[in-house]
Amino acid sequence: MSVFRRTTAGKSPRSGAAAQPHPDAIIWAEGIVKTYDTGTDKVQALRGVDFAVARGEMVAVMGPSGCGKTTLLNSLSGLDTVDGGTIWLGGQDLARLSDRKRTDYRARRMGFVFQVYNLLPVLSAVENVELPLLVSGVKPKEARAKALAALATVDLAKWAAHRPAELSGGQRQRVTIARSLVNDPAIVWADEPTGALDSKTATEIMDLMRNLNQRAGLTFVLVTHDPGIGARCDRIVRMQDGVIVGQEIPRAEPEVVRVPAPAPALAMTGAD
């Protein structure tokens, strides 16, 4: 049973009073606009995007380079601000949160996985992993125990004391994944998580994330170019030129609970 429908052109989801998010949605975004001003040009990276993700869903955002995938991820996760539209994250209006509260929310409820790992090179694996916990105010001993457990989850317990430079690309990405899940997040954002890996390692990493998604119920939003990765997600959202141009549900993976699209319009497309 799919709850997703394509919105018809010209029917803006932003007309009228702001709609409330669906109770099952962990992310509920309407009419997201993001413009970059380069000084000489203005580039509209997102042109009125509506987007929703259900708790426990694993969604892949795909599209050609420069279509706005990473911008969408950054905007939804609160790493970047938007110029228009509303984003509800875990039932909270992101625009109403101060930078401080948004940061705290990220620390407690989100995990991030990046293409180039983005581990701190001067810290060991376990120190990298425990950092979000320390930020959240967890006691150092408890943080260390949880970090080691997270590393064990990604099968890197033996590498806990090693620095990133001493680890392979796949191992580094596992550390990043361990860091993203150590604070028991509601959602993990992954920007090209396998982009820097060979196909075998990429498959391993995808297996790991899918496993965490299915067994622990972690919500994942992935940005990827890799059709193979997309095919293993619950849903693929396709973007082009700052708008969502389509979505599909791969057949390979079992369906999870679906979320109704933001009212009055349904997700998946930009306004233009």
Binding site: T70, T71, N74, S75, S77, L79, D80, T81, D99, R100, T103, D104, R106, A107, R108, F112, F114, V116, N118, L119, L120, P121, V122, L123, E127, L131, P132, L134, V135, S136, G137, K139, P140, A165, R179
Partner: protein, 990 residues
């Protein structure tokens, strides 16, 4: 200023211009032959303006320090010589009564001789074309009172000059610039010097009263004239001038003169240049006439230049720490620039760029920075020199009119030297950073060691071992500290490098080497003396010790950073909220050891030098302000021979002054105001020393302390008992020892008690001959050297009767007074002076005098500290460069931190903690090293025997807090910038 370290400035300038030209030619060659490489280098300069500004600040430090030091020298030189020229005018030399043709004006100041000597001198100068004028002068030291204004001066020079001969000397000029016709003066009319007018509050038409031979001389002020020798103005006295004949008549000294001034052909300044041959000819012509010539202007100019050169040398040596720190900063800056461009450089090498072309590229860029920063440094150096000049004026303005002045030549020297130092540091850094592994650079991963490098390590080890051994042996053999300690300090590196070659871990090897260096330099002086004997060393040892101690401490810190950081991290755990910031802050310094080490070393060097000077200043000030300083006396009242006192206590009692307050009075007679002629028995030349004749009361009442005693005297009391019993025995103050002369050190006239060292507890009694006024010779035997701590007792002290035989009519009688209440010293001194003004008595509080001297000395050292504090700019620039670079380098990591929940404040705090750790380590090590070395040096000084060593914590705390605070402020700007980066933007950054 014409000389620095004995080298002529013109020669230094020519050499440096040649060196700078070589540097610039090499860059010009690159620009001509490799224009693309040159452009690649220089185009980097305007790319990041804030960074370029910081680099220019960092690179200008050497030029700034050198320019400041030379500027201070120029200022002192110019001020002192200007003062000399202004005072002496066209008086180039003076002829005075003297047994030796080489006369000393000050030794003969109170002597008079027959005016017929003028004819003798005229005949002698007839054949000397360089002499164009002679002027007979009669001086008398008198007190002066201006009753209607209620002002008085205990010491003034009433001088008489011959108006008929005045034209050759430029005449007298009024303060309004008009000529004053002295010949037209009526009887009892005088012109007074500008300073006298000020002190006496007198003007033309007023009547002042001088006292001569206890008789009042009412004098009418006919004019106020410029301060000059002709107007009677001296360094320590105001002047009044009248026609010679009237002066002779008024003082009852017909046909008598004190000196004959000689004017050389030429102007005020250039006549002195040609006076040497004229003086020699005149001395030769006057041989056997009991007259001597003192080339007073040339001597004073030479002395001024000597003092200026001494100060310049001192400032340059002390500035070496800042220059060394500046060189480290240059290396740091270029290392960081190279790190920034590592991938770029790797790719350039990969596509065929030669290593030397990378060097050329960096050198081209560095030369641009160096040329620019040299200009800024030289200009700021002028500002700093003017600032120091203002400080000197505040301290010494009473003695010398300080006029800020910087010679263009000094600026050229500072600019060239600063740019050449910077250029060499840039070339060295470029050579180092060009040695990159192409693959590692392209992939931006750490370099790997190669076998080739390891062999070089072994070669370096052998070289250092050999060089260190040779230097140590040579130094120990010659008894010279510099090569010995330099050699001993190189040895551990000669051992450590081979150990590393053979695979021994870095931490134990370099930690041990660092600890060895610290032990070598921090071992108490006595212990080192016991091991290797006494070695000779001067101020250069201060620099050497600082460099090696800082190197040792930095090595120990760097090799054990993880332990220190773990401690900081645990400390951070106490503040739960800031723990994440601490965690990231302490991680970076350990990961970038080279950068961390350079920064720690820079701060350590600067703080070490500041703390060391501050601690020594503090302890020596306390030492010389101790109870011993006044020798048990409270007030000294000096009476000149012009108006002798019949009965000091009785005269005071008659005036109702200090009655019942005086506990004791001792009397000291001095034959000359500016010393007397003495010489060691057997020595050919007469020298100058302050000869003092003590009466028994002074001997009994003085609290002597001796630095060393003649053999046979068990203790200080034995020396005093011997002085009491034998009038041919004497004691002398420690400034007579070799090296104790201060600014007079090296002067030909200074008496030196050679053969007695500062560390000698005993010495063989030394026989000294005293030149008697009647032409004969008396002799005394020195049996004690008075401790420096007893600042009130300066000169050669013997029995008053002995001095009376030398000079029956002493120029000065000093009454030393002990008061029942020492706290009343200042008040009683003033009361005595007021009561005995007509006798020209000057009263001084001895403690106040000692404190004034110490205040000047300390004030000067504070100025030196301020100058050395310029080095802090190095640290500040370093912190700024590192912080700005760190923000750029870690931009993506900052994005990650923000993504995982670091608040802005936490990111900022992380940078601040990182800076605080690095700067704190440098400051801590510099402080410990400075205090320990100061303690070793102070306690090793015999003068400090029994004195407690103390640390000036408030001063040190101020230095430390200011250093850390400035560093944090410098980090705060980029850390805020880092914190404000939008996480998404930071994550995009590559």
């Amino acid at each position: 200023m014409n000389e620095v370290f004995g080298l002529p400035m013109s020669g230094i300038m020519a050499t440096l211009i040649a060196l700078l030209s070589l540097c610039l030619l090499s860059v010009a060659w690159v620009a001509w032959r490799r224009p693309v490489i040159f452009k690649l280098g220089v185009r980097n300069i305007p790319r990041r303006r804030a960074q370029t500004a910081l680099i220019v600040v960092g690179l200008m430090l050497s030029t700034l320090i050198i320019s400041t030091a030379l500027g201070v020298g120029d200022t002192l030189d110019y001020s002192a010589t200007s003062d000399t020229y202004r005072q002496l005018g066209r008086v180039d030399a003076v002829v005075v009564q003297s047994r030796s043709p080489e006369a000393d004006l000050y030794a003969a100041l109170d002597d008079t001789f027959g005016a017929d000597a003028l004819a003798v001198v005229e005949r002698a100068t007839a054949g000397i074309p360089e002499v164009d004028g002679l002027l007979p002068i009669l001086d008398a030291r008198v007190p002066v009172r201006h009753d209607s204004a209620g002002q008085g001066e205990p010491t003034a020079i009433l001088t008489g000059i011959d108006p008929a001969r005045l034209d050759a000397f430029g005449g007298l000029r009024g303060t309004d610039g008009n000529a004053v016709d002295l010949a037209a003066f009526a009887v009892n009319e005088v012109a007074i010097s500008e300073e006298a007018a000020k002190e006496l509050d007198a003007a033309a038409g007023d009547t002042v009263t001088a006292f001569f031979a206890n008789k009042p001389l009412p004098l009418t002020v006919a004019a106020v004239v410029e301060d000059s020798t002709l107007a009677g103005h001296r360094e320590t006295a105001v002047g009044l001038v009248m026609p010679l004949a009237q002066m002779q008549a008024l003082t009852g000294q017909p046909d008598t003169v004190s000196m004959i001034a000689v004017s050389g052909a030429g102007g005020v300044r250039d006549a002195a240049d040609g006076s040497e041959s004229a003086v020699a000819a005149l001395r030769s012509a006057l041989a056997g006439q009991n007259l001597g010539v003192d080339p007073i202007k040339a001597d004073m100019v030479e002395q001024a230049e000597g003092i200026a050169a001494l100060f310049t040398g001192l400032f340059l040596v002390l500035g070496l720490f800042s220059i060394a720190a500046g060189v480290l900063l240059i290396v740091l800056i270029f290392t960081m620039l190279a790190a920034e461009r590592r991938s770029e450089m790797g790719m350039a090498r990969a596509v065929g760029t030669q290593r030397k072309q990378l060097i050329q590229q960096f050198v081209a860029e560095g030369s641009g920075y160096a040329l620019l920063s040299g200009l800024v440094g030289a200009a700021l150096g002028v500002g700093a020199a003017f600032g120091i000049a203002a400080g000197l004026r505040a301290l010494f303005g009473d003695f010398l009119a300080i006029e800020p002045h910087v010679e263009p030549r000094s600026l050229v020297v500072a600019y060239c030297l600063g740019v050449v130092i910077t250029f060499l540091a840039v070339v060295g850094s470029s050579w180092k950073i060009s040695r990159l592994n192409v693959v590692a650079a392209v992939r931006d991963i750490p370099d790997v060691a190669t076998g080739h490098r390891r062999k070089r390590t072994l070669v370096w080890g052998a070289l250092l071992l050999g060089l260190g051994g040779l230097l140590a042996i040579q130094g120990a053999g010659a008894g010279v500290a510099f090569p010995f300690y330099a050699g001993m300090s190189l040895l551990p590196f000669g051992i450590a490098l081979p150990l590393r070659f053979f695979g021994v871990a870095s931490r134990p090897v370099f930690s041990a080497a660092g600890l060895y260096l610290l032990a070598l330099w921090m071992l108490p002086q006595n212990a080192m003396n016991a091991l290797v004997g006494e070695l000779d060393g001067e101020i250069e040892m201060f620099f050497l010790s600082g460099i090696f101690m800082v190197v040792g401490a930095t090595m120990v810190i760097l090799q054990n950073t993880d332990l220190l950081l773990a401690g900081v991290s645990r400390l951070g755990g106490l503040f739960k909220g800031s723990l994440p910031a601490v965690r990231t802050a302490v991680a970076y310094p350990g990961a970038a050891r080279g950068r961390t080490g350079l920064t720690i070393a820079m701060f350590s060097l600067i703080v070490f030098s500041l703390v060391m000077v501050a601690t020594m200043n503090h302890n020596y000030t306390a030492l010389y302000l101790g109870d011993e300083a006044t020798a048990g006396w409270d007030v000294r009242a000096d009476a000149s021979n012009a108006n002798p006192l019949a009965d000091f206590r009785g005269d005071l009692a008659a005036q109702g002054v200090a009655a019942g307050e005086i506990a004791a009075v001792g009397v000291v007679a001095s034959p000359g105001l500016f010393g007397s002629e003495v010489r060691l028995a057997g020595a050919p030349d007469w020298k100058n020393v302050d000869l003092r004749g003590m009466d028994p009361a002074f001997l009994d009442g003085s609290e002597f302390a001796f630095l060393s005693r003649a053999v046979g005297y068990a203790d200080d009391a034995a020396v005093v008992a011997a002085l009491r019993a034998d009038p041919t025995l004497a004691v002398i103050d420690a400034s007579a020892l070799d090296g104790g002369g201060g600014f007079e050190e090296g002067s030909d006239d200074r008496f030196v008690l050679s053969g007695v060292g500062w560390d000698d507890e005993t010495f063989a009694p030394r026989r000294v001959e005293l030149a008697r006024a009647d032409g004969g010779i008396s002799a005394v035997t020195i049996v004690g050297v008075i401790d420096e701590k007893v600042g009130a007792l300066a000169g050669l002290f013997t029995a008053r009767d002995t001095v009376a035989a030398v000079a029956p009519d002493p120029a000065l009688i000093s009454y030393y007074v002990r008061l029942a209440d020492p706290d009343r010293a200042d008040a009683v001194a003033q009361e005595i002076e007021a009561a005995l003004l007509q006798n020209g008595v000057e009263g001084v509080s001895l403690r106040g005098e000692v404190e004034d001297q110490q205040r000047q000395s300390s004030g000067f050292l504070y100025l030196v500290q301020g100058f050395m504090g310029l080095g802090l700019l190095v640290g500040v620039a370093a912190v700024g460069v590192i912080a700005f670079r760190s923000v750029v380098e870690r931009r993506q990591q900052i994005g990650v931190l923000r993504a995982i929940g670091y608040r802005r404040g936490l990111v900022s705090l992380s940078f601040l903690i990182e800076t605080a750790f690095i700067v704190g380590m440098g400051v801590l090590s510099g402080t410990i090293l400075g205090v320990v070395l100061a303690r070793n040096l102070f306690t090793a000084d015999d003068a400090a025997d029994g004195a407690g060593f103390s640390v000036p914590w408030p001063v040190i705390a101020t230095i430390l807090v200011a250093t850390v605070a400035i560093a944090l402020v410098m980090t705060w700007v980029p850390s805020r910038q880092a914190a404000r980066i939008a996480p998404a933007e930071a994550l995009r950054y590559e």
